[in-house]
C-alpha cells in the first residue's frame, strides 16, 4: 500500500508538471479508479454460475443489490470529481482556466460523468457477456415458436367456480354456446367431426417477434390432430434443451389425457392443474424466462438496451453543464443565478394563473406567449441592458441552464398546438434537439462568460 502511494505521488507530481490541465482534470485518478472498480465489478458479474441456469429472481436480485451497493461509491466519486474541478479548474483560481479550453472540458465532463455514473453497471456487462457464452439468442428465437405451439398441450390450470348460481359442469364447458367467456381459457375439446382439436393457445413466453411480426398465441385455435401431434413432439424435443422434462411423451396419450381432464374447480379448496405433463415445470419456466429476459435485454441485461442509454446520458449532460458553469463563473454570480433559476418558474406560474383567472385564454397559446415574453426579457437583461454585471450574469446563467429544457418545452407546445402525437419518434427528436441545444448553448455561453470575466466590466 505504501509502495502504491509512493508510485501515485510520483505520477501525480510528474503529471502536474508535464500536463497541468490533465492533472486538473484528474486523468490519472478518475478514469483509473473507474477502470479498477469497473473491472472488479465486471469480474463479480462473471462469477455467477450459469450452468445450470440459476433461479432468475435470485440472479436478478444479486445484480440489483450490486447496483444498489455501488450507489454510494458512485456519488462519492462524482462529488470528489466536482470538488477537484471547483478547486483547481476554476476562474477564481487560475485565470487561464477554463476559459481557454472551456468547451473541450465540457465534453470531457460529459464523458467522465457517463463513466462514473455507469460504473456500477459493469457488473451487469460481465453478466451479459458470460450469459452470451451460455445462452444462444438466435437459437432461443427459433425454439420459442415450437415451445409456444406445444405448450398448451402440456399444462392447463383449472378455472375456479365459486358462485353457486353458475351450475356449470364439464358438459357446459365443452359447449361453445354457453357464452361464458371466462371459461374459454379452459377449452380443450375435439371438433364435432373428431379430426381437429379446439383449444386455447396458451403460450410459454409472453409473445415474441418472428419475421418482424409480433406473435402472440393467446387465442382460440382449431388445429388438425396430426398437426397437434407434431407440435407435441417438437415441444418435447425443444423443452429438453431448456431442462424441461415431461412425464408423458406420446402425443396421442397426451391429447387423450387432456380431453378427459377436469378443467373446473368448484369451491375454495386447493386446486391442482387440470393437466400437467411436466416433471419440473418451475425449472423449465425459469429457464425459458431467463432466456426471454436475456433476449429482450431486461433485468440485469438492461445495460444493453438503447432505450435505457438514450435518456440515461442526459444525467451526465446535466451534471456536466452545472459543473462547467461552476468552473466558469464567479461563485457569487452562480448563487444569484440559482436563485433566478428557482424563481423564474414560480413567477411564470403566478403570471400564467393570473391570466387564466382574468380571461378566457387558450392554455397552449398563453403558455407559449408568456414563455416567449419571459425569454425575451431574460435575453434583454443578459445581453442588451445596462444592469449590474452580477444581474446580467445571473440571467445569462439562467438562460444557459434553461436552454435545453426550454427546447423540450417549446417543441412539446408546438407539437400539442399542431395536434401531433407524443410517440417514441417524437421523444427521440426532442432528445436530439435538447442535446444539440445543450452543446451549442454551452459553447456560446462559454464565450460570453470569458468576455464577462476577462474584459473589464462596468
Amino acid at each position: 500500500m505504501k509502495r502504491l502511494k509512493e508510485i501515485f505521488q510520483r505520477v501525480d507530481a510528474q503529471l502536474l508538471k508535464k500536463k497541468p490541465i490533465q492533472w486538473i482534470l484528474g486523468l490519472h485518478i478518475f478514469p483509473v479508479l473507474v477502470a479498477v472498480i469497473g473491472l472488479v465489478l465486471f469480474l463479480i458479474g462473471t462469477v455467477y454460475s450459469l450452468v445450470p441456469l440459476p433461479n432468475w429472481r435470485d440472479f436478478r436480485e444479486f445484480f440489483e443489490t450490486l447496483n444498489m451497493a455501488m450507489i454510494l461509491p458512485t456519488i462519492l466519486l462524482t462529488i470528489l470529481f466536482i470538488i477537484r474541478q471547483v478547486k483547481y479548474n476554476s476562474k477564481r483560481v487560475h485565470l487561464k482556466l477554463p476559459h481557454a479550453n472551456s468547451f473541450a472540458m465540457y465534453l470531457y465532463f460529459i464523458g467522465i460523468f457517463i463513466l462514473i455514473t455507469a460504473m456500477p453497471f459493469t457488473g451487469n456487462l460481465g453478466a451479459f457477456l458470460k450469459t452470451g457464452m451460455v445462452l444462444n439468442k438466435t437459437e432461443f428465437l427459433q425454439d420459442q415458436e415450437a415451445l409456444n405451439r406445444g405448450y398448451a398441450h402440456f399444462r392447463m390450470t383449472k378455472r375456479r367456480v365459486t358462485d353457486s348460481d353458475e351450475h356449470l359442469d364439464e358438459e357446459q364447458l365443452q359447449d361453445d354456446a354457453t357464452g361464458i367467456y371466462y371459461l374459454h381459457d379452459q377449452i380443450y375439446k375435439l371438433s364435432p367431426e373428431g379430426d381437429k382439436l379446439i383449444f386455447k393457445r396458451k403460450t410459454l413466453t409472453s409473445g415474441y417477434y418472428a419475421m418482424d411480426q409480433y406473435v402472440n398465441y393467446n387465442s382460440m385455435d382449431t388445429v388438425p390432430l396430426s398437426q397437434v401431434y407434431s407440435e407435441i413432439e417438437a415441444f418435447v424435443e425443444v423443452a429438453a434443451k431448456y431442462q424441461g422434462k415431461t412425464t408423458r411423451t406420446n402425443p396421442i396419450d397426451i391429447v387423450q389425457h387432456n380431453l378427459k381432464a377436469k378443467k373446473i374447480h368448484y369451491g375454495y379448496g386447493d386446486m391442482t392443474p387440470a393437466f400437467n405433463h411436466f416433471e419440473n415445470y418451475e425449472q423449465l419456466d425459469n429457464n425459458i424466462y431467463f432466456n426471454e429476459q436475456f433476449e429482450d435485454n431486461d433485468g440485469p441485461y438492461f445495460i444493453m438496451s438503447w432505450s435505457f442509454w438514450k435518456f440515461y446520458w442526459l444525467l451526465a449532460l446535466g451534471l456536466a453543464t452545472l459543473l462547467i458553469l461552476l468552473c466558469s463563473v464567479n461563485i457569487r454570480d452562480f448563487g444569484w443565478a440559482m436563485l433566478s433559476i428557482a424563481l423564474h418558474p414560480t413567477v411564470y406560474g403566478i403570471v400564467f394563473a393570473l391570466f387564466m383567472f382574468v380571461g378566457d385564454f387558450d392554455d397552449e397559446s398563453l403558455a407559449l406567449g408568456l414563455l416567449i415574453l419571459f425569454n425575451l426579457f431574460a435575453m434583454f437583461v443578459a445581453f442588451g441592458s445596462n444592469f449590474k454585471p452580477t444581474v446580467k450574469r445571473a440571467y445569462a446563467i439562467t438562460l444557459h441552464v434553461y436552454a435545453p429544457i426550454l427546447t423540450a418545452i417549446y417543441l412539446t407546445l408546438f407539437n400539442e398546438m399542431s395536434h401531433g402525437g407524443f410517440d417514441d419518434g417524437f421523444a427521440e427528436f426532442v432528445l436530439i434537439c435538447v442535446v444539440i441545444v445543450a452543446l451549442v448553448s454551452t459553447y456560446a455561453f462559454g464565450k460570453y462568460y470569458k468576455k464577462q470575466y476577462v474584459d473589464p466590466q462596468g
Binding site: 508538471k17 508535464k18 497541468p20 492533472w23 478547486k87 483560481v93 487561464k96 445596462n386 473589464p456 462596468g458
Partner: protein
C-alpha cells in the same frame, strides 16, 4: 512605459461618487503608492489599472493603447492583481506554485529549480510544503506574490497588501517588493494602495493621493511638499505633558491640528527642524512620537 493613462473617469450608477485621475504613469522598476482615506477611490483606481473595471479615459498598457480590439485575455497574462481578499489555495503551497509554473509553460524539469529560486528570494523556502491553512496572513500574501511572480508579470497591482499584517511583516513584504524591482529578471512596475503612509512612502517612487475620487496629488515622492514654504511635523507626547505642549505651541503661535493623540504642527521655515526639536526638549516634554511630514502625503490628509 508599462501603463499610461489620461483623464481616467469613472462614475457608478446610483452613486454620486466620481473617480477622476487626469494623469497617471507607471514606469518599469518603479513603485507607485496610492493613498487616501477610506472610500475615496483607491480600490476603484486599482481595479481600473488591473483591467477589472471599465472606465472612461485613454489607457495604454506596454505602449499599446486600449481599444475595441484589445485582447484582454492576453494582456492580463502580463498583469498580476492581488486583491484585498486573497482567495484560498487548495492543496500544498508548492503544488499550487508548480501548477502555475506548468500552466505558464515552464519546462517540467526546470520547475523545481525555478520555484526554489523564487521562494529562496522571498525567504519562503522552508514553508513550501505547508498548506494554506497552516500559514499566517503575511505568509499567504508573500506566497501569493511568489505565485504572481512565476508568470513574470510586467505590472503588479496590489490592493491594500499591508492591511492585517504586523509591522515586521509589512516591512518584510515591502522589502521583498523593493528587491524584486532591483532584480533585472523582473522588469515590473508596481502599484499598491495602503493606509500605512510611512511604510508606503519609504518604498514608493511616486505617490497618488485621492480625496473624494479626485487626484489631489500625483507625482514623484521628491515633488511632495517641494513648493511648501513651511515645516509640518507630527508629534505625540505622554498624556501628562499634552497640556504643556499645547500651551507652548499656542504661546509660539504655531498652527496646530489635533488628530486623536497626535498633534500636527505647521510653522514657517524661518527656523530649522533642529531648532524646533531643541525647543521642545527644552520644555522638558517627553516625546513619544515625532515625524517630519513636510514632504509626506500625510500633510495632505488635513488640508
Amino acid at each position: 512605459m508599462i501603463f499610461q493613462a489620461t483623464d481616467i473617469y469613472k462614475k457608478f450608477t446610483r452613486s454620486s461618487f466620481v473617480l477622476n485621475v487626469p494623469q497617471m504613469e507607471l514606469a518599469e522598476g518603479t513603485i507607485t503608492g496610492v493613498v487616501g482615506e477610506n472610500g475615496n477611490g483607491k480600490t476603484t483606481l486599482l481595479n481600473i489599472v488591473a483591467g477589472e473595471l471599465e472606465a472612461e479615459g485613454s489607457l495604454s498598457y506596454f505602449d499599446h493603447p486600449i481599444n475595441q480590439e484589445t485582447d484582454w485575455g492576453q494582456l492580463k497574462l502580463q498583469i498580476a492583481f492581488i486583491p484585498q481578499r486573497i482567495p484560498r489555495w487548495y492543496g500544498s503551497l508548492i503544488q499550487n506554485l508548480a501548477l502555475k509554473a506548468a500552466l505558464d509553460g515552464i519546462p517540467a524539469d526546470e520547475i523545481d529549480t525555478y520555484l526554489d529560486e523564487i521562494l529562496d528570494f522571498l525567504g519562503l523556502l522552508d514553508y513550501k510544503h505547508l498548506k494554506w491553512t497552516e500559514i499566517s496572513t503575511g505568509y499567504r500574501l508573500r506566497f501569493e506574490l511568489a505565485r504572481m511572480l512565476i508568470g513574470k508579470p510586467r505590472l503588479l497591482v496590489l490592493d491594500e497588501p499591508l492591511a492585517n499584517l504586523d509591522i515586521n511583516t509589512q516591512q518584510k513584504f515591502l522589502s521583498d517588493l523593493k528587491n524584486i524591482l532591483k532584480d533585472k529578471s523582473y522588469p515590473t512596475a508596481v502599484i499598491l494602495s495602503s493606509q500605512q503612509l510611512h511604510e508606503i512612502e519609504t518604498v514608493s517612487d511616486q505617490m497618488i493621493f485621492l480625496r473624494k475620487g479626485q487626484s489631489v496629488f500625483s507625482g514623484a515622492m521628491n515633488d511632495i511638499g517641494a513648493d511648501q514654504d513651511s515645516w509640518a511635523f507630527e508629534l505625540q507626547v505622554i498624556q501628562e505633558d499634552k497640556e504643556n505642549l499645547m500651551n507652548y505651541l499656542k504661546e509660539k503661535s504655531y498652527e496646530t491640528t489635533t488628530t486623536g493623540e497626535y498633534v500636527q504642527v505647521t510653522m514657517e521655515k524661518r527656523a530649522t527642524e533642529n531648532d524646533f526639536l531643541r525647543e521642545l526638549i527644552n520644555q522638558n516634554l517627553t516625546i513619544t512620537y515625532y515625524r517630519n511630514i513636510t514632504r509626506s502625503t500625510k500633510r495632505l490628509f488635513n488640508q
